[in-house]
Amino acid sequence: MHSSPEPTLRVNNLEVIFSDASGVVHALRDLTFNLPHNGFVSLIGPSGSGKSTLLRVLAGLVPPTNGEVHFNTSQPKVGMVFQKANLMPWRRVLENITLPLELGGLPQETILARAHELIKLVGLEGFERAYPRDLSGGMAQRVAIARSLMQDPDILLLDEPFGALDALTRERMGDELLHIWHARRKTVLLVTHSIPEAVYLSDQVLVLSSRPGSIILDLPVDLPRPRTDDMRYSDTFSKLTHTLRDTLQEENNY
């Protein structure tokens, strides 16, 4: 197991209420969970269950209404990958990746060295000077992942990063993500709609109820690492996906 005594993040009794065009939204209620240090946790739930809201709270984009979000460092650095690659179209691949460190005042050589290292890690060598418009969806997401790692974040928040990709690219990107995670141990929280993806990638899967979202299942994934394709057909795998499917179905019918 990758957990150490001190979890990277503790969320206690988190509640989020905000108002938007359609009125007051009770997005999250009574949410309590820990993210173990360097653990890979997935968050799954019905549409509109406040998964994205939770990530936005953790990223500091939305203030919690009640409860607390407690990181194990005082100035947590957060890397975020959105469903869209969200690259700056006027910057080349390399410049998109260097952006996070340009904000910190580090020497140029340090920034470039780090960027080239990450470009290699995500397999984008040769595309440093390409513009985002010339990239496929999968490649654009690799750039986004490399960019999210630039600041060497304490936690990586992934908001359905492969949601817009086709099934095969999606599986390949999942493997890439695990490869990156093995190379750079990080605490990861992945929001996904795909049950098999959640099981395949994670140490632990959290299931969120429909709105207001709270955790209705915390499922440890007892599959050995590194994960391989044939595990998708193992008994453990199908038992876990079944449990998750049943929980989600019940929640949807409710």
Binding site: A59, G79, M80, F82, W90, R91, L103, G123, R133, R172
Partner: protein
């Protein structure tokens, strides 16, 4: 590992030359037609001067320094107006884009001010501020103000929220967000406003000069009209057209330089 291929965009290589050839042919045909018209209709020169007469008048006014002096005077007004009006509009536009409250407070005035045709109040401005260069710069500033203001606001409002969120998760300072996100993201729309402003500024300067001035191409047009020197009017008008086109081309050049990342600018012909 397998990699998806990149899209290639090809730029036709001899397209520019071809278009230049078309331009030359089209201009030559136009001048030829004009020359034929003056021959056939036998109109007096003060109604429609022949191309050769206009050419002689052009060389003459160029020789005695008249044309250059008035061209520079107008250019000065146009550029000063564009700078002053543009800077004011950009700063106010930035504030309006940032504060919806301010926008709601000011927009009635802005819309009202826009429904007053500048051409109609140009005589007033000349009465109030004199026939000198100041009233012209003021007219130019006013006429370029609105398109640049609107494009600043729209450009900034179009900055994707996801990228704003990204800058926030990276803990970017307000200045960093401005310089690294808002400026480049708003630039395509902003420069579109600047391009319109450059053309309008020329119109503003000439209107001001026609109303009352002691120099400038508009003044030259008035002089030519008063003396039935229609060839001189033609010279002044053609100079104005060329000047407006050069200014427009300059902004366009800045655009293509700054926005080279936009593929559609190369693909659209």
């Amino acid at each position: 590992m397998r990699m998806a291929g990149t899209k290639q965009n090809t730029i036709p290589s001899n397209g520019g030359l071809k278009r230049l050839a078309y331009l030359v042919v089209s201009l030559a045909a136009g001048i030829l037609l004009w020359g034929l018209l003056t021959r056939i209709l036998q109109l007096p020169a003060f109604i429609l001067p022949s191309p050769s007469l206009v050419w002689q008048r052009f060389l003459q006014s160029l020789g005695d320094g008249q044309l250059i002096r008035h061209t520079l005077a107008t250019l000065y007004e146009v550029v000063a107006g564009l700078l002053i009006g543009g800077l004011t509009a950009t700063s106010l536009g930035y504030l309006l884009a940032k504060s919806t409250t301010l926008e709601k407070l000011l927009s009635p005035y802005l819309v009202a001010s826009q429904s007053i045709p500048i051409v109609a109040i140009a005589p007033l401005l000349v009465i109030w501020f004199g026939p000198g260069i100041f009233s012209k710069i003021l007219i130019c500033s006013l006429i370029v103000f609105f398109p640049i203001l609107i494009n600043t606001v729209v450009g900034l409002r179009e900055v994707p929220q996801d990228l704003r969120d990204l800058m926030r998760t990276l803990k970017a300072s307000p200045f960093q967000t401005f310089w690294k996100l808002e400026v480049p993201a708003a630039l395509p729309i902003y420069l579109g406003g600047l391009r319109v402003g450059a053309t309008l500024s020329v119109i503003g300067a000439v209107v001001g000069e026609l109303v009352g001035a002691d120099r400038g191409l508009g003044f030259l047009i008035n002089v030519g009209r008063g003396q039935y020197d229609t060839a001189l009017v033609f010279v002044a008008v053609l100079t104005l057209i060329i000047k407006a086109m050069v200014l427009y081309g300059l902004v366009l050049l800045i655009e293509t330089r700054l926005l080279s990342w936009q593929s559609w600018r190369q693909e659209v012909h």
